[in-house]
């Protein structure tokens, strides 16, 4: 039988502390450099040692968006991995395990007779090649490449690029240990494996997480200060920026709590720089009063909220889209805000940079809404075009307008609602930014007339901002489909993967993604819903939060609804099955 080329799923499972995530990342990079497309995702409990961790890397010659539930190669570092995941292995697939550490019996395989066992003395080979115990993962990586008949040359390049800063010894050790696993499999399991890798020539692609993309969007978008308090799954934006702070000339400040984070960002922005803060739902809850402060004082602010399942501490390391309504309504009173939910890493990059422009030009808070799946999953993607990111500064008072004045009418009513702002320290007219309702200079004012003028002025900015926004709805796939998935945020990936799979079955489906959740594109969405042959609303929360908004604001609903709130992202298979059922 001819092997399946360049299409497989690899999974590794072990305890926390086994270091499995690095291994998957390297395999992902290998496949990307081999000219293929890949995605990877890790599932791990909220603890540091023990528990059950997995990472899955799925590879294809075509662009893929979400991994499947099944896999062809399972690297099992412990028994639990076999017990939980052997059933997901495709017929003819393999389990790589260390016979000195893990003996696999039939009971553990749940009577699967169509799985090959590939015993590789992972620890022994690591130690023999002067590595530490944990380097068994690198042996397993080599064994994987051996099984897939993939050239070793590329992995040598990757180790060189990754570890050259640590010196030749480290590079060579990694190469030797990886080769040991590779050679062991080639010698001891020479029979052809039904899946293999054949490198292709392609333009370079990156391997990137949503949080990395947001980090780069912030940097290229001109961010100068980021304030945060660590919280999964937002933490890596802070640690990324801290690591790159000196390269890109910015400050990443780990502050005492999220209330400080939002207020530090507001203070910095008030003083004239581009500033942001980021967190997950629990931290966002603490930022809520600050969100209103940014709105009331008309101070630009970008907040990133990477969702995880709530309420309270919830499922800290899992994924959900349950914060939508909270984000749309957070903080007392009515005020304008913009809420953007990127559906892939590219949107995460470009829209984050745009968020900095929108906040600064229109003096309002912009929230980037992601979730654990997008934040921490990796995707291979074309290299971003940084030239497409324009830092469009705006909303500042001209020096000459300010110079002759003693007091500056910072909150003067204007047709657009945007009043140019001076930054503190600039000579001339001063003003007060005030969390109390205020008059044109910022002095506290409680008159009814003034209240209406100011509230209406603030609200008008959102209409003005509309003109600076890209289309708020994004289509994926071909028009006139028999079924349309209506979705938002990272679930867009699973829907895109589902329509790709459906196409191979001759089923024409497409995806409508709501990219801007506020201001809500009600008119556009209503028109599109009217044209759909059949529609299904797909989102990762319990109460169909987007669907509720659609019903409320469009006066229409989708024909079907598919919700998921068990902490796991959608599997494309379940959406495919749903589509078949509906049609």
């Amino acid at each position: 039988m001819k092997p399946t080329v360049n299409r497989f799923t690899w999974k590794i499972g072990g305890a926390a502390g086994d270091g499995i995530m690095v291994t998957g990342a390297i395999l992902h990079k290998y496949c990307t450099r081999a000219g293929l497309w890949a995605v990877d995702y890790s599932e791990y409990p909220s603890l540091i040692r023990g528990g059950h961790n997995t990472q899955v890397v799925q590879v294809d010659e075509e662009q893929i968006f979400t991994h499947d539930q099944g896999n062809e190669i399972l690297v099992a570092l412990n028994e639990e991995t076999v017990r939980l995941h052997a059933k997901e292995i495709s017929p003819g697939g393999a389990i790589i395990h260390d016979p000195d550490r893990l003996v696999i019996n039939d009971a553990m395989l749940a009577d699967r007779k169509d799985i090959q066992l590939i015993p590789v003395p992972l620890v022994k080979l690591a130690l023999e090649n002067k590595g530490k115990d944990l380097m068994r993962n690198t042996v397993a990586l080599g064994a994987t490449l051996g099984l897939l008949d993939a050239p070793l040359r590329l992995i040598e390049e990757i180790f060189t690029d990754t570890f050259k800063a640590k010196g030749d010894a480290v590079v060579n050790e990694n190469i030797a240990i990886c080769r040991a696993g590779y050679d062991y499999v080639r010698q001891n399991h020479p029979e052809p494996f039904p899946w293999k890798i054949e490198p292709r020539r392609n333009d370079p692609r990156m391997v990137i997480t949503g949080n990395d993309a947001i980090t780069l969007g912030l940097i290229q978008g001109g961010l100068k200060l980021y304030a945060a308090y660590p919280m999964t799954p937002a933490s890596s934006i802070l640690t990324n920026l801290a690591e790159m702070a000196s390269t890109y000339d910015l400050v990443a400040k780990h502050v005492e709590d999220e209330i400080a984070a939002v207020n530090v960002a507001i203070g910095a922005s008030f003083a004239g720089i581009r500033a942001a803060c980021g967190t997950s739902g629990g931290g966002f809850s603490l930022m809520v009063e600050g969100l209103g402060l940014a709105a009331m004082s008309e101070t630009p602010l970008v907040i990133i909220n990477a969702q995880r399942p709530g309420p309270a501490t919830g499922l800290p390391t899992w994924t959900e889209q349950g914060d939508l309504r909270f984000i749309l309504h957070a903080a007392q009173g009515d005020f304008p805000r913009i809420v953007i939910a990127p559906g892939d890493t590219e949107q995460a990059f470009y829209e984050t940079a745009r968020a900095l422009n929108l906040a600064e030009q229109f003096h309002l808070p912009v929230i980037i809404l992601t979730d654990k799946y997008l934040a921490e999953g990796h995707w291979s993607t074309p290299v971003y075009d940084q030239k497409k990111v324009l830092v469009e500064r705006g909303g500042f008072a001209a020096a000459h307008e300010q110079a002759s004045k003693e007091w500056y009418g910072r909150y003067e009513d204007t047709p657009s609602g945007v009043t140019p702002r001076p930054v503190p320290g600039k000579p001339g007219g001063v003003f007060i930014a005030n969390s109390d309702e205020h008059d044109v200079f910022g002095f506290a004012s409680e008159t009814a007339e003034n209240r209406l003028i100011q509230a209406n002025k603030r609200a008008r900015k959102l209409d003005s901002a509309l003109k600076a926004m890209p289309p708020r709805l994004v289509w994926w796939g071909e028009p006139n489909a028999d079924l349309t998935f209506v979705t938002w945020g990272s679930t867009t990936y699973a829907c895109r993967e589902a329509i790709r799979k459906l196409a191979t079955m001759g089923i024409h489906a497409n995806v409508l993604q709501v990219l801007y959740l506020w201001p809500f594109p009600a008119d556009e969405l209503k028109a599109e819903l009217g044209k759909m042959k059949k529609s299904v609303l797909v989102e990762g929360n319990q109460s169909a939060q987007l669907h509720g908004l659609i019903k409320q604001l469009c006066g229409r609903s989708c024909d079907h609804e598919k919700l998921k709130y068990d902490g796991r992202p959608f599997w494309p298979e379940e959406l495919v099955a749903l589509a078949k059922e509906i049609l």
Partner: protein, 289 residues
């Protein structure tokens, strides 16, 4: 520097304070404006960040750049502004409920961080703006509207707390002594690092215990006892004084590098002056391929 010397009245806004007649806040308002004038700062040279309370209402009475933030959250706004523009003079005004209660965590961490801003707390041992409830500084046994049977909790000692938490400049003033208060504000502002000035401020409406007369009988100047403000143990002992004798003046001072000075990325131009059109992430993009 302005060409003609600046006067206290150059920092008046068009609005006269709405505080109760005789309120201790008037003295602090005067001291602050005196200090600005003596320092020769134009109104546009300085940012005053205010908390929420009677004290924070000063935001409408001072001519300077102002930010009247949230209850308890003035410090992080001020720190953000200072990091964005390290050349800007930043002064923070707040109440004892605001700073030691609602915003207590920010106070603790500002003391550690040592960002070069000045924090002036109007300590009236009561909540003024919300009409007379217990503050973190109210004495045990005091009857307030939220503690009709008397306060149970021990009061916070703000200056002892500030010294213990690593404050690099800790001082106390009395709003009934404007000349000393003015000088202490100037000293606090000149201190390179986070300076904390606790100002004893009688609330004539809601605090009938810690009155002007009560304070006049108890305050003494630390210079008069040759206090050595570089001696932390001595400073701490003085800071604990309350009741019969209450110290005013600089309790503790230590020169150590500011947060801004230690943060590599802040060397050179203030962040606000850095160009945004030369950013180039191609190297990082490349490293991800």
């Amino acid at each position: 520097m302005a060409d003609t010397p600046l006067k206290n009245t150059d920092y008046n806004s068009p609005h006269f304070p709405t505080w109760c007649p005789g309120c201790g806040n008037f003295g602090i308002w005067t001291g602050l404006k005196n200090a600005f004038a003596e320092l020769g700062w134009k109104p546009s040279d300085v940012l005053v960040v205010y908390g929420i309370g009677c004290s924070g209402n000063m935001s409408s009475f001072v001519k300077a750049y102002g930010f009247h933030g949230l209850h308890g959250r003035a410090l992080p706004v001020a720190i953000g502004a200072k990091l964005a523009n390290k050349d800007l003079h930043v002064v923070v005004i707040g109440g004892d409920g605001d700073g030691y209660g609602e915003g207590g965590n920010h106070f603790l961490h500002a003391l550690r961080g040592n960002v070069d801003i000045t924090y002036i707390v109007h300590d009236n041992q009561v909540y003024g703006l919300t009409k007379g409830q217990m503050a973190p500084t109210t004495e045990v046994g005091e009857v307030t509207s939220s503690t009709p049977e008397g306060v149970i909790d021990q009061p916070i000692d703000p200056v002892a707390l500030a010294i213990a938490a690593g404050g690099s400049f800790v001082a106390q003033a009395f709003s009934g002594d404007t000349p000393q208060l003015t000088q202490l504000i100037i000293e606090a502002i000149k201190h390179p690092g986070f300076s904390h000035l606790n100002v004893l401020q009688p609330c004539v409406t809601f605090n009938h215990h810690n009155t002007f007369a009560w304070f006049y009988r108890r305050v003494y100047k630390l210079e008069s006892v040759n206090h050595d403000f570089s001696n932390k143990a001595e400073a701490f002992a003085r800071a604990l004084e309350w009741g019969e004798k209450i110290p005013t003046g600089i309790l503790y001072r230590e020169i150590r590098p500011t947060w801004e000075a230690k943060e590599k990325e802040l060397a050179g131009l203030p962040l606000v002056q850095r160009p945004l059109d030369t950013i180039n992430i191609s190297q990082t993009l490349q490293s991800l391929t």
